[in-house]
Subunit: 352 residues, 2 copies
Amino acid sequence: MANKSWNVLVTGGAGYIGSHTVLELLQANFEVVVIDNFSNAYKGNDNIKPECLLRVEKLTNKTVTFIQCDVTNWNELKDVFKKHEFHSVIHFAALKAVGESCEKPLEYYKTNVCGTLNLLSVMRDFNVKRFIYSSSATVYGIPEKLPLVENMKTGDCTNPYGKTKYMVEEVLKDLCTSDKEWSVISLRYFNPVGAHSSGQIGEDPNGVPNNLMPYIAQVSVGKREFLYVYGNDYDTHDGTGVRDYIHITDLAVGHVKAMIYQKIRNSTGFKVFNLGTGKGYSVLEVIRAFEKASGQKIPYKIVERRTGDISASYADASLANKELNWQATKNIDDMCLDTWKWQQNNPDGYKC
Amino acid sequence: MANKSWNVLVTGGAGYIGSHTVLELLQANFEVVVIDNFSNAYKGNDNIKPECLLRVEKLTNKTVTFIQCDVTNWNELKDVFKKHEFHSVIHFAALKAVGESCEKPLEYYKTNVCGTLNLLSVMRDFNVKRFIYSSSATVYGIPEKLPLVENMKTGDCTNPYGKTKYMVEEVLKDLCTSDKEWSVISLRYFNPVGAHSSGQIGEDPNGVPNNLMPYIAQVSVGKREFLYVYGNDYDTHDGTGVRDYIHITDLAVGHVKAMIYQKIRNSTGFKVFNLGTGKGYSVLEVIRAFEKASGQKIPYKIVERRTGDISASYADASLANKELNWQATKNIDDMCLDTWKWQQNNPDGYKC
């Protein structure tokens, strides 16, 4: 299906979603160049290539080219494009913590919006016009109804992080309207969790995890005493927030499928796909599933709602199935089991 | 009212609205530093200071400091802030042609959004946190009802230009939420027209004018044969589009009032004000008013609607009246008369 000479640039390829996607790309025989600025990735002992990519190379028995580069830096980016010829770009590089985005909005807008604009300009200058964008279900704002379908209204996001994702989608739409040569796919992720089934690569958050699953994982190995559950008075079956969790490997494969779609169909224009399982799980259900997978008790405390959190969100994922021939294959038990495996093997993430 | 030692940075101060605002600032005894990248301003014979600012200096008998600088350039901007201490920043520098924004969206997002983010970051680094932003009535998108009031919904803009104005307002809101020291006023302009009553400074569009009044002005002096009227089947009293035209001097004074408000009230947070007259005039009414003011016949042709144009837009300008003690003082006849005076004196703009 894939082709040896299809060269892909992956920005932010040393991050959580990036590294898992690189693994799937290599396994599908794509040539991969990764750029990353190490803002949220561990350098490791190699001192050149991030630890997660060394592990990806070991797992795949293939090599990936790595260049330290910040997408907001015009000159650095241009040098990457001068050195390498790309057929496609998958753009993960971004800041992603919702809470932090409220404290540091300028940093979020600069990195996520201006970084993307910078990348798109350089791509245009080098006539590389296939782009896969790392979007988010947060672009739907407060859902009017569920499940979320791609043609529903976007915007009215509740935090700067979500707004950056929304703004970039608007930029991409306008870009595709102005220049019919562009082929852009925006993938709206629901809640990526889990780790590669090898237990060798996974999520390695800096500091206190912002998301449920890595927090549970740290509680499970005794790194944190309690899990905080933010609100049990939501309008859901057990009162806790409901989300559409998706296994990171399913998500990574979604990117490969999207790229193959662009390549084989020679598609142009702006397209959007939800990447989710279509099933919602409450916080309490995730806790129970993790306890089952790990055999560990996860102590938790119910605390107040967090501002900006919505009660429930899950995808209608049928469009990706129909168009990209993609669907999630792993369930909540797989997600918990692989998280647990990764966390046990790597209690301090890549630093151990 | 004003104070000699109040130093104002005006970005894009060699443009149409910028130059008229600089004139009013100087007359109110503010110290003014202008930066501009000459992307839409005539350099003139001086070769250092733009022609419009030389005329502003002559009219006011005061001097303005000028520095050639691009707001998208971090190092250039930082140098300006190193050399000068500012109390307030008024930010005009932006691309502003709706049609062009559809053809070159990346340029518009980079200049208008990333340029502003760059400026805000440098301001923060130098602890300058009073900001007046050049916004637009286009942020209201397609009006649900008229007149437009500041607390109405924004977004759903019909072109990239409008989206850049909307996005920056969102950034400014988030910035003021994250850091309570900021004092930000966003001024939503309706349709600025006319020229300084001296006939010495005015609008000097590059190439074919994008807006009605400068186009009429060029027809009036024989530079163009016909005016094109885009659609006469709108749901308005004569079928042509209705807009709230505001005299450029009224608009300029609005900025001075906003700055004085920030200074005297020591206000913080994000505030928005419409700057308009509150009255709507149709295209045909503007043509008639211009014919009356100039004594010239304005030949016109009715052609198809332009995509993205809305039928009618006018302001509720009572908030600016109440809070800023500002209101428009000049009517449509003044606007046409001053445009005509400027155009007669300067048939080729500043180049003559």
